[in-house]
């Protein structure tokens, strides 16, 4: 079985080598269909095809990320070559890694031009299984006009944020703006809450749930303090309905001018500054605050990657497509046309990009310090870990459990599902 697989692989590589030199290959590429993503993806892929003489076919996949993951897992575990190049989420390398091709032989050192945090995230069992395509990180959006009006500074610590939010919220409400809230974020029980809660915990020096060696380290006083702080916001500076907010609900409140602060991903910038936005020209972006005594700023790392299936018949050609799509030229084009954040530090000094997206200069520092969700240590069980973590956090936020109890229970269930921190 193993023998035939590896010989098939060898012949696939041999074929690919022949293909690159002799005949045109047809590559099937899956990219997300959200907004202008699909159009840009098609355009870039077509440019590559014209240049190299190969063909690219863009495969439609579900928009919902978990549905897409389920589809990928089925395609890949069947060993199918239906899709050659996959657009994958930043948390999936651990889940899909064993089905993906090691890209190191094809990169010619190009990975050194990308953020090191991404390359580390994309390395699964010593193999580079994906190339970063565009980046995302948790950001603090604030109302510049309101901070100026009340003489508040951009918050450095979470305590500053809480105090400013409370002060401005109360003052605005007293002035008749009774829909005003201090801070909106993502509190629904889903992957987004894992990002939010990980930011609170990591910025308090409470670790990243599971450390890089696979040890479960979430049961500590700093993590409990972080969750206690977040729970205290619910119903005071954040609406109770925040427990059911995802990105778009939070953006809805902020963009309507009804919140002082918001935690969200970079995509909200161009929308908040777009036409018809009630807060156009009044918004600022900053690094998320840090804990008062311990820890530093922490923004959850997000983004999308491109990977090549191990079962492709045209590994060389497919890898070439990935290298083209993640190159500086294409990333610049995508940054200009669609505000997609490049994954190459050099592009954050590019005057054209900075002119089109003034906030990207501030993002540079954030990506360098972003915290990755514990995907590489937990491997195929990341989904379960994240699910346990967001459920524990949600229980605390909803006031059903005390932070210490929730973390104790989380520790027990993580030990349970990792079979005693063994993770496989």
């Amino acid at each position: 079985m193993k023998c035939t697989t590896s010989s098939r692989l060898l012949s696939a590589i041999a074929l690919a080598v022949i293909a690159t030199t002799a005949s045109a290959a047809s590559i099937k590429l899956s990219c997300s269909g959200l907004g202008q993503e699909l159009e840009l993806c098609k355009r870039n892929a077509q440019t590559w095809a014209t240049k190299t003489g190969h063909q690219v076919q863009v495969v439609a996949t579900p928009n919902d990320a978990s549905e897409r993951l389920a589809l990928y897992q089925q395609v890949l575990s069947a060993g199918s070559d239906k899709i050659d190049v996959f657009q994958i989420d930043v948390v999936w390398p651990g889940l899909l890694g064993q089905h993906l091709l090691d890209l190191k032989p094809y990169t010619q050192g190009a990975q050194s031009q990308h953020f090191a945090s991404f390359i580390a995230n994309n390395t699964h069992a010593g193999r580079l299984v994906a190339m970063p395509w565009f980046a995302n990180a948790g950001l603090l959006y604030y109302r510049r006009d309101l901070l100026e009006k009340y003489g508040e500074k951009v918050p450095i610590t979470w305590d500053d944020l809480t105090a400013s939010a409370k002060k401005i919220q109360n003052a605005e409400r007293a002035a008749g703006n009774d829909k005003m809230w201090g801070y909106v974020w993502q509190g629904r029980a889903y992957e987004g809450l894992t990002c939010n809660a990980l930011e609170w915990v990591a910025s308090h020096g409470g670790g990243t749930i599971v450390d890089s060696d696979g040890r479960i380290n979430v049961r500590n006083a700093n993590a409990a303090a972080a969750l206690r702080m977040a729970a205290s916001w619910v119903g005071t500076i954040s609406p109770t309905a925040v427990l059911n907010y995802a990105e778009e609900e939070a953006r809805g409140v902020f963009q309507a001018g009804n919140a002082v602060f918001m935690r969200n991903w970079p995509y909200a910038w161009s929308l908040a500054q777009g036409e018809g936005s009630a807060v156009r020209g009044k918004v600022g972006v900053a690094v998320l605050p840090r804990g008062a005594t311990q820890g530093g700023n922490a923004a959850a790392l997000g983004g999308e990657l491109l990977a090549v299936s191990k079962y492709t018949r045209n590994a060389g050609v497919a890898a070439d497509l990935v290298m083209y799509m993640t190159s500086a030229a294409v990333q610049k084009e995508r940054a200009l046309a669609g505000s997609f954040n490049p994954t190459q530090p050099a592009l954050y000094r590019d005057p054209d990009i900075l002119k089109a997206n003034p906030f990207m200069g501030e993002l540079y520092g954030i990506f360098n310090r972003a915290v990755a969700r514990p995907t590489s240590a937990t491997g195929a069980r990341y989904n379960q870990v994240s699910n346990e973590f967001w459920n524990a956090a949600h229980d605390v936020l909803a006031g059903r459990t005390k932070p210490d109890e929730a973390l104790e229970r989380l520790d027990a269930s993580l030990n349970r599902l990792s079979r005693g921190a063994k993770w496989n």
């Binding site: 195929a380 989904n383 699910n387």
Partner: protein
């Protein structure tokens, strides 16, 4: 029964049959088997084989990401240290399923009985009512679940809109997100959807009640409620029992409604949702199969018990 008797060439009373007749019946028996064969093959392929595979996988540590690598761990998935029996998440799902099944079936039976009694009154609009009543039952569950989750939405939902307008509440209620309300909302939607089914089955039972019983009661001047309690109810009880068993079996494997309305939330997750989460989201082929197997045997056991009870009742009657 008849098949086996004739096949042995012996009549039911034990005396041998003439050879020609035996040959004929053997031929008929063979033909019967040939006729049945396609259905048996299809059943074995679409029900038997997957079931056996599921039971087989439940004894292994298989993982969907590498389905070819697995080893037997026998009952570890069930009674091991990390097995289902010790998994609070599984028991949470079992509890949710039972609460859902009991609440929804009880409410549906009561409401269905009421609706059936109303419709059973001779009236010109009865046919129209009967058709109109079936609308919720005719809508696919996923569609009605989605429809209701929009109606119950905390920001754009019509339910909150009117409750606010009428001054019954001051802040919108997050029906499907609030852990204490989510199960209530799901039961509500299921009752809305399935009451027509119960009503129809009970109506059928009502129409089987002989009219002369009622006539005799009317002649004797028996009050209406006593008629209902002493005549109607005992006579339709078997019909109601069958309908309840059907609904119970359906409710125990509920999936679509809960999955669409509250996804994988712990507060409302049913056994089927738990199984899907393990198999698809977590890729735990072995563990998920074990849960699916337990679910199957639970429902099979309840079916067998219910059939026994119903049959012994029939025998009594």
């Amino acid at each position: 029964m008849e098949l086996t008797h004739t096949a042995t060439g012996v009549t039911p009373d034990g005396s041998p049959v003439p050879a020609a007749r035996a040959g004929l019946s053997a031929q008929r028996r063979r033909r019967a088997w040939w006729m049945l064969a396609p259905m048996l093959v299809v059943l074995a392929a679409v029900a038997g084989w997957p079931l056996l595979r599921t039971i087989f996988f439940s004894l292994t540590d298989a993982h969907l990401s590498s389905p070819e690598r697995w080893q037997f761990i026998w009952l570890e998935n069930y009674i091991g240290r990390y097995g289902l029996v010790l998994d609070p998440a599984w028991w949470g799902a079992v509890g949710n399923t039972l609460v859902f099944a009991l609440l929804s079936v009880t409410l549906e039976t009561l409401l269905g009985l009421g609706v059936a009694l109303l419709i059973n009154q001779p009236s010109r609009v009865r046919t129209l009512l009967r058709a109109a009543m079936l609308v919720p039952w005719a809508i696919p569950t996923v569609v009605s679940a989605k429809m209701w989750s929009w109606m119950l939405h905390d920001q754009f939902g019509v339910v909150n809109h009117y409750l606010l307008q009428w001054g019954l509440i001051h802040t919108p209620i997050a029906w499907t997100a609030d852990p204490s309300l989510a199960m209530f909302a799901i039961v509500l939607v299921d009752v809305w959807k399935t009451t027509p089914f119960m009503a129809l089955l009970i109506l059928a039972a009502l129409q089987m009640v002989p009219a002369d019983c009622y006539e005799a009661a009317r002649v004797d001047g028996v009050p209406a409620f006593t008629v209902f309690r002493r005549i109607t109810l005992p006579l339709i009880a078997p019909g109601i029992a069958v309908a309840m068993v059907f609904r119970m079996l359906d409710a125990l494997r509920v999936f679509d409604l809960i999955y669409v309305m509250t996804s994988n939330s712990r507060d409302t997750r049913s056994m089927s949702v738990f199984v899907r989460e393990q198999l698809i989201d977590f890729q735990q082929t072995g563990y998920g199969s074990a849960a699916a197997t337990l679910l199957f045997f639970t429902i099979a056991a309840i079916t067998i018990v219910a059939m026994r009870v119903l049959r012994s009742r029939e025998a009594d009657a």
